[in-house]
């Protein structure tokens, strides 16, 4: 955060006034508080205040044994719980040097990519709301509902799945899953043009977001931006491709990038990533091998002393877990590098100079989830 000046609640002038946006504001996507310094309608300064949803995630993690941390990771970025599980178990597995059976890897990828679609859908819907388009919200939630149905058939949960285990997966797919998943993908592919009709091809939408909140490549790298925000600037950096984990190196997919790093590019990157995720899921479903789903894991997880940092490409960017083990059952130090938090930090840079309405769009395009920002 750095040091912030003490803001006066009532500005002397209307020409320069402070407006408090949030923590209870429909467009802050949770309990984020933004202090906006306004010059008329123009935002001259943005100061995000975070911590309203702080739950001592990391400290709790250090007081639980390794397996017990998994349910907590669900609550990090509660819109992509599968991916948080994925990242965490991957880290522990790497720390312990565990092997994961092939079928489990495929299951992980399928679920993770479905999760990415679901997460991007939510983002698209709420982004539409930010811009005043209500209909896209309902469309997106209709599709997300189907994904949640799939997840429910697999894990029994609709939001906080806790479905990944260290060393594999707890349960196999139910029998009906494969056909249901395939029919969903077919259906979903037909829905994508609908989104384009309502959002992408709509002239008002284009005019609203093009050239907005422009982020150049240097700033993006300086601020360690990752995920669609980084790819929007034109840098091809996707951990699934550049630092492959699990079995991502076996799939054929494109990494969509933008060119100017504005809100439009971020939108397009996410929109195209949905198509790519569909491709990955289709390939994985086709190649899904039979076999075990749980590797050989000791009853008591006691990783060797040492530390490890491992990262995955969550829907929001680089989700990293840093674990220091002292050889006991509990992590000695447990740290989460959450992409939403890091991406949010660039808001004071790209926010000023826009109108309040655009601030909302820019904030929306960062795609923050406060559970992850505050942890």
């Amino acid at each position: 955060m750095g040091e912030t000046e003490i803001l006066e609640p009532v500005a002397e002038l209307m020409e320069e006034m402070y407006v408090n946006m949030g923590p209870q504001h429909p467009s802050t996507h949770g309990v984020l508080r933004l202090m906006l310094k306004l010059d008329g309608e123009m935002v001259t300064e943005v100061v995000p205040y975070i911590g309203y949803l702080h739950r001592c995630h990391e400290k709790i993690g250090e007081n639980r044994i390794y397996v017990q941390v998994i349910p907590y990771t669900d609550r990090l970025d509660y819109l992509s719980s599968m991916y948080n599980n994925f990242g965490y178990v991957l880290t522990v597995e790497r720390l312990m040097g565990l092997q994961v059976p092939e079928r489990a890897e495929f299951m992980r990828v399928i679920l993770a990519e479905l999760q990415r679609i679901a997460s991007h859908l939510i983002w698209m819907g709420t982004f539409g709301l930010d811009l005043g388009n209500f209909t896209i919200f309902m469309y997106c939630f209709r599709e997300r509902e189907k994904i949640l149905d799939l997840f429910e058939s697999v894990s029994g949960q609709r939001l906080n799945y806790s479905f990944y285990r260290i060393g594999g997966m707890p349960m196999d797919f139910p029998d009906s899953f494969l056909t249901e998943c395939k029919s969903f993908l077919e259906w979903f592919k037909q829905r994508l043009p609908e989104y384009d009709a309502v959002m992408t091809d709509n002239i008002i939408f284009q005019k609203r977001v093009q050239g907005l909140g422009r982020l150049d490549q240097k700033t993006a790298i300086d601020y360690a931006i990752s995920g669609p925000m980084l790819r929007g600037t034109g840098i091809t950096w996707d951990l699934r491709r550049n630092d492959p984990y699990s079995i991502y190196d076996r799939f054929d997919f494109e990494v969509p990038v933008g060119s100017s790093g504005d809100v439009w590019d971020r939108y397009m990157v996410r929109r195209r990533e949905m198509t790519e995720s569909v491709k990955i899921v289709e390939q994985a479903l086709r190649q899904l091998p039979p076999g075990d789903i749980m590797g050989k894991v000791p009853k008591k997880l006691k990783p060797p002393a040492g530390d490890i940092y491992s990262r995955v490409e969550s829907p929001r960017g680089e989700l990293g877990f840093y674990i220091v083990s002292d050889g006991s059952e509990k992590p000695y130090r447990y740290k989460v590098r959450s992409p939403a938090y890091v991406n949010l930090s660039v808001l004071p840079v790209i926010g000023p100079g826009h109108l309040v309405a655009d601030m909302v769009a820019i904030l929306g395009s960062i795609d923050i989830v406060l559970g992850e920002v505050d942890r």
Binding site: E41, G128, G132, M138, R142, I204, R208, L355
Partner: protein, 338 residues
Amino acid sequence: MEKLVERFYGAFAALGVSSVVPQVTLMVAIAIAMTLFISVSVMFMIWWERKISAHIQVRYGPMRVGGWHGWAQSIADGIKLLLKEDIIPAGADRFVFALAPIVVFAAAFAAYVIIPFGPNLIVRDLNIGVLFYISISSLAVVGIVMAGWSSNNKYSVLGALRSAAQAVSYEVPLVVSILGVIMMVGSLSMVKIVEAQQGIWFIVPQFVGFLIYLTAAIAECNRLPFDIPEAESELVAGFHVEYSGMRFAIFFLAEYANMFTVSAIATTLFLGGWRGPLLPPWLWFLLKTYFLIFIMMWLRWTLARLRVDQLMNLGWKYLLPLAFLNMGITGLVLVLRG
């Protein structure tokens, strides 16, 4: 209708009372009738909008209250709003706070005076007809600023100022787009305008004017592509954030009543008013008006919101010159025809 009124006057004259009594009685009766019409049509419009939006969004909308497709939902909502506690924020200017919704509603209500629902089915065919609507609708802006200021809330002040700026700047293209029609008719009277559309509706020669009018009218109503004053993602709700219960209901009523008014004016000016085959005139008028309302709702549920500077650009840089061009060409054609 006129005969009825004459008979009414005659009955009073026979009783030997001064002519003021039947005049006042008639005025009150018309006012009550208009209030009833506005309430019923607004309730219908709210229910209809909820149904339309629901079906656009693959939902059903209200289904329970009243049985068939939740037709009584608006009535239930209205009763709920009327019964709610009347909250006035602590820092508010009580008098202005209470006055604002009345001003806004009065403006919406007064405009119904000149709407010609059918031949002879008009409260008063003023000879300044259209101008009356234009001037009276500007009153609503004052009410909005009053509401925003008296709530003692930054957001509502900001929303009110935006609303005022928007209404004032879109009033100009609105008026200029109407001028084409007025020039063709040579009168401001609503009845004369409808009568002038005997052969061809003005939407054909004045298509550009119609489009400009519709755009500006949607902006005047603060509806979705132009609902910046109420943008809930930015301002939470605009000038009426602090209003609740009855007072909020009045704002809501005025908003929908306004929507009906602008559509009715568009029907009169461009779509031939009550003219149409087979069906009775008033039904034609309502059908056309509700068709325009449907278009407005349709737009609302498919488009995203404009930004405030884009809104101003559209109004001043595109609509206004286009409207002037339209007016100039209309004038030229009229002069050349002689």
